[in-house]
């Protein structure tokens, strides 16, 4: 226990913000920045992919389906290595580990978000689409004004757990030397050498505190939203609860 306090005293700041302000930002700050950036950019891409997946046109449906299955079937670490190699080749200049990780997370998460959004859209009663089409709205108008607002509202808790997955996935940035939390802990472990258990227990505790509080928040939201839907349902002939079978690490 005294070891853990000593490590926190000496290296706590390194875990939180890296070498900042005397050097580059790192640690937990980068972990959170990567997760927020990753999910924020992945979300619009995921919605587009979802619309592609449910499209009647094979030209749109096929590529979206391929992207989703490749992301679901290939480990994230392979994606990281692909991007690490591919991004500098494609752009013709060196790309930082941080950017590589961000791009990887965006592509990978977009595929998972697409499946969540698709389940949300398919969970709504068909009558919604039919009613608004017969009111004269176009397909895209219906999506934008009727279907997506409802589907996305119902999906908020699932999207929040996807955010938690993203936080956990940023730890893989370690393999390409992204200066995030896991990387910082490994640096400390290499410096100390004799306290591996204490260092990694602290690391696990930080991730746990962050992810578990978000998990509790997601559950709270889920209860509130399903209560509201149950209330709405008694008046308007209820949508079935969409429960996508999608789990990421």
């Amino acid at each position: 226990m005294t070891d853990i306090l000593a490590i926190l005293r000496d290296y706590g700041l390194l875990l939180l913000v890296g070498q900042f302000p005397n050097g580059p930002m790192g640690g937990l700050a980068i972990t959170i920045a990567l997760s927020i950036g990753g999910i924020a950019l992945a979300f619009p891409l995921g919605v587009v992919l979802a619309l592609g997946r449910i499209s009647r046109f094979a030209v749109l449906a096929w590529p979206a389906t391929v992207v989703v299955y490749v992301a679901r079937g290939v480990p994230l670490i392979m994606f990281i290595f692909w991007m690490y190699y591919f991004l500098p080749v494609a752009t013709g200049r060196p790309v930082s580990g941080l950017t590589t990780m961000l791009v990887t997370l965006v592509v990978y998460q977009a595929a998972y978000i697409a499946e969540i959004v698709r389940a949300g859209i398919e969970g709504l009663p068909r009558g919604q689409m039919e009613a608004s089409r017969s009111l004269g709205m176009s397909y895209l108008q219906t999506m934008r004004k009727v279907i997506l607002p409802q589907a996305l509202y119902n999906m908020v808790p699932t999207l929040l757990s996807q955010f938690i997955s993203t936080i956990k996935e940023t730890s893989l940035g370690y393999v390409i030397g992204v200066n995030e939390l896991t990387f910082a802990a490994n640096q400390i472990n290499t410096t100390l050498l004799t306290k591996p258990f204490q260092v990694f227990a602290i690391l696990a505790a930080i991730y746990f505190a962050l992810c578990f509080s978000l998990t509790l928040m997601a559950r709270q939201l889920e209860r509130r939203i399903s209560a509201r839907r149950a209330g709405l349902g008694s008046q308007s002939g209820a949508a079935t609860t969409p429960r996508p079978q999608i789990i990421t690490e």
Binding site: G73, V74, I167, F197, E249
Partner: protein, 231 residues
């Protein structure tokens, strides 16, 4: 970049190490899956017990393993918890591939938490009256779990268990970070030696995708066959 040339990597030493990495990957996946299923079933059984304290302990186990990155759990076991083992055990493990062992333990225990949650929601969807009926017919607590609850819960949980199996398979790639010579590790090795990056990455990606799709389609065929008529 030039044309793709698979001839250098799919030959001799490279092909041999690729082959043995496949065996390692599949062994790790199979053993880890067995551990995860065993842990998951035991935890789900404990969660059904009337003792609130036992239920809470399982809840803590599940929350810890679901809210800490898999990579961090692997590091904690491999670098941290391993130091508390008796010296003899440590030496024996080091001689017999401790990397493989700790990857197996850490991924298996973590995925066990996910399996237990899937089973729990399966169990919760089975009417309490069924257990009461089974008990009234003279089955013991464990008999009614094994013969009445578990077969139904497994069926209901099957889609989730399949995506967990795929996830577990993908997570074995993280074992490369502690030096297990599985597919991703060997892919990096061959890349460093041959500089045929695109080719070897393509090979690895296709292998991963093929096995994942195989697990998914095997799963859905089991699902079709196991479906209870009328449900």
């Amino acid at each position: 970049m030039g044309a793709l040339d698979f001839s250098t990597i799919l030959r001799g030493d490279h092909l041999a190490s690729l082959g043995s990495s496949l065996v390692t990957m599949l062994e790790l996946t199979a053993l880890t899956w067995l551990l995860a299923m065993a842990v998951g079933i035991v935890l789900a059984l404990i969660r059904m017990s009337p003792s609130v304290w036992l239920q809470r302990m399982v809840a803590v186990y599940v929350e810890y393993h679901q809210n800490v990155p898999m990579l961090v759990q692997i590091f904690l076991w491999y670098f941290g918890i391993s130091t508390f083992l008796p010296k003899d055990v440590q030496q024996w493990l080091n001689r017999h591939g401790s990397e493989f062992f700790f990857a197996f333990i850490s991924v298996g225990l973590a995925m066990g938490a996910y399996v237990s949650e899937a089973l729990r929601s399966g169990i919760r969807s089975i009417a309490q009256s069924q257990i009461e009926a089974a008990r009234a017919l003279g089955l013991s607590y464990f008999q009614s779990f094994r013969l009445v609850v578990l077969p139904q819960a497994l069926r209901i949980a099957l889609p989730t268990l399949i995506s967990h199996a795929v996830l577990l398979f993908k997570n074995t790639s993280l074992a490369m970070t502690i030096g297990v010579a599985e597919l991703t590790y060997v892919t990096r090795e061959i890349e460093n030696e041959s500089f045929r990056t695109v080719e070897i990455y393509l090979v690895a990606t296709v292998i991963y995708l093929a096995f994942s799709l195989a697990i998914m389609s095997l799963g859905s065929s089991i699902e079709r066959r196991a479906r209870t008529p009328g449900r």
